[in-house]
């Protein structure tokens, strides 16, 4: 497992991992509720890119059968990611709906301000 010989082949994956971590960081480090959801989206989209990167075959094409093509990229991850995208948008919709209600109830969408109000609530 020579690090340097694997480097070019795995670089794609590593860049994706960087993306994932950016998204993950936004979710946990930022207080603004909408930004957290944005971070979650970035995190998820990056995971999807990871899967799709896996599916690619050098010299392949889209998995739609056609005359004269012999190599196709792997269709299974595509299907999985289609499902995952939909799940992601469902989560986003619900999360944003909650944010709207929270704004009405607390007057703010910053997590630290909300926590301050909650500790008064008891």
């Amino acid at each position: 497992m020579d690090f340097f010989s694997d480097f070019p082949g795995l670089l794609n994956y590593w860049v994706v991992i960087v993306l994932m971590m950016i998204g993950f960081y936004i979710v946990i480090a930022h207080d603004n509720l909408v930004k957290k959801i944005v971070g979650l989206n970035i995190f998820q989209v990056s995971v999807f890119v990871f899967y799709i990167t896996m599916a690619k075959i050098k010299g392949g094409t889209a998995p739609i059968l056609a005359e004269g093509i012999t190599t196709y990229s792997n269709p299974l991850p595509h299907v999985l990611i289609l499902t995952a995208i939909v799940v992601g948008v469902a989560m986003t919709a619900l999360g944003l709906a909650l944010v709207v209600r929270i704004r009405d109830a607390y007057g703010t969408i910053e997590d630290d301000e909300i926590q301050a109000q909650e500790s008064e609530d008891l």
């Binding site: 979710v27 799940v87 469902a90 929270i102 109830a105 609530d121």
Partner: protein, 496 residues
């Protein structure tokens, strides 16, 4: 017709729940929605019981969806562990539905009730789908169905903190789901398959691969978030406390339990369990976290003034019990853990039902408002005490059975820390249960308190049914233990 039903029972288990949800959406009238939800849940319980019987006779049941055999299609694989989960979920649901009649009416605005039952049906469909599937990605889809519907249901609590509780659960839960998906991706990358049985044959050959190891790590963390394993538990206390009573009951009985099942299924059936546990020190890590949960959460529970929150922390401790049994990876330990999963579901659901009754009558769940409550709500408080005994582990209760077997398993493995933790946390449980009992029984009602009556029969009966069943299985423990042992063996033995 019976032929049709019996061949397709496995599919119907989930399909009926799925069909009922849009029907509820169309119905709009709260009563009609309740009737549909209740009827379907009872039918689902019937199906689950029949499936359990079939599995007890024939070992694993397989049902191919879409007619395509695995690994190209998705299949259901029902072994004893899955069947047990199906019974637990539908059983708790069946008790919750009659209870919900009065409770939902009191806590949720009338024009939304039909949507609530729609969500409930989606939730139960999701849980059942997880228990029954043999495909790791399919598990994710149904996990999200159940999670998304939970977030919505929790947010319906009257307190505005229900909204933030739901939001935080959404964020943490989605992070968990994303970690799970990352793990599945890594596993797929290494093997090319998504079918659990298939993976079980493929993974041993590449068990040394770093990809496989990280896959296990990510899946474990992801599911650990969902089952509220300390330190990934932060969403649970708020979610259980501020959700509507019915939701607390149902989630406490099923939500985390199904995540435990999912983890068991993946770690043991797919990754080939015992080798993974011992080889990577997973057992030690989990047991360490479990011990912290048992003692820490019980201790925190003592100081709570909100009784629902007290019960929530108690749940965290109970999850610790379940996990430590599993971490032992011995048949005895795992069956103790699994049987506790069952017992705790009954007991905690019953306790939260008691809180729902109390909330219905006095509009609060603060311990100070419960002074002298036993005089005016004797049936409810008696149920609380009985459930409390179960939490502590008094002989004749189901809780005693689980702790007894856990202790035996710990002695067998020589895990002295675990033994100490189990005993200490039981003592702590006595303290926090006693606090509530003392307030309700030995203090006097406030003079200014309005006169209240006992909770309605529609709520008392389901509550006592659950508590009663927990006592039944405390006395006739062999039935549940046999199933649990069978389930443990099925999981430890790998795929048949």
């Amino acid at each position: 017709m019976t032929q049709f039903v019996s061949t397709h029972l496995a599919a119907l288990q989930v399909v009926l729940a799925l069909l009922a949800a849009p029907v509820c959406l169309l119905l709009r009238r709260p009563n009609a929605a309740w009737v549909v939800a209740t009827a379907i849940t009872w039918v689902l319980l019937g199906i689950a019981l029949v499936l359990l019987e079939q599995v007890l006779e024939a070992s694993t049941l397989i049902y191919t969806l879409g007619g395509w055999p695995a690994p190209w299609g998705i299949e259901y694989r029902i072994d004893l562990a899955s069947a047990f989960m199906l019974v637990i979920i539908t059983g708790i649901g069946s008790a919750v539905m009659p209870y919900a009649w009065a409770s939902v009416e009191a806590e949720i605005p009338e024009e939304r009730i039909y949507l609530f039952y729609c969500m409930y049906l989606l939730n139960i469909a999701g849980l059942l789908g997880i228990a029954i599937t043999g495909d790791v990605f399919n598990l994710f889809v149904f996990l999200e169905i159940s999670s998304l519907s939970s977030y919505v249901m929790i947010s319906l609590g009257k307190d505005r903190r229900a909204l933030t509780a739901a939001y935080r659960y959404l964020i943490m839960g989605t992070i968990g789901a994303t970690f799970y998906i990352i793990g599945v991706g890594l596993m797929y990358m290494a093997t090319g398959s998504l079918n659990m049985a298939d993976l079980a044959t493929l993974i041993p050959a590449i068990a040394d691969s770093r990809t496989v190891l990280m896959s296990l790590a990510f899946i474990t963390v992801g599911l650990g978030l969902k089952l509220a394993l300390v330190p990934l538990h932060m969403w649970l206390p708020n979610a259980y406390t501020h959700a509507p009573s019915v939701v607390s009951v149902f989630l406490a009985g099923t939500g985390t339990k199904i995540a435990v099942y999912a983890m068991l299924r993946i770690v043991f059936t797919v990754f080939g369990g015992a080798g993974v546990f011992d080889g990577y020190g997973l057992g030690e890590m989990l047991s360490g976290l479990a011990v912290i949960a048992m003692i820490g959460a019980s201790a925190v529970a003592i100081f709570q003034t909100n009784v629902k929150r007290l019960l929530a922390y108690s749940s965290l401790a109970q999850i610790g019990y379940i996990m430590i049994g599993i971490a032992m990876t011995s048949v005895l330990g795992m069956s103790a853990g699994i049987v506790h999963l069952f017992n705790h579901a009954l007991i905690k659901a019953g306790l939260f039902m008691a809180m729902g009754c109390i909330f219905l009558r006095i509009g609060s769940v603060q311990i100070d408002d419960m002074k002298g409550l036993a005089k005016v709500m004797p049936v409810t408080m008696a149920a609380f005490v009985a459930g409390g005994f179960g939490l502590i582990g008094v002989p004749l209760t189901a809780g005693f059975i689980s702790k007894w077997y856990l202790l035996q398993a710990a002695i067998e493995k020589g895990w002295w820390l675990a033994i100490a933790a189990i005993l200490i946390s039981s003592l702590l449980a006595i303290i926090y249960i006693w606090r509530v009992v003392e307030t309700a029984y030995f203090q006097d009602r406030d003079e200014n308190a309005p006169t209240i009556s006992e909770a309605p029969w529609s709520m008392l009966i389901p509550m006592w049914t659950l508590i009663g069943v927990s006592f039944y299985f405390g006395i006739h423990a062999t039935q549940t233990m046999d199933v649990a042992i069978g389930a443990a063996e099925a999981l430890l033995g790998g795929i048949q």
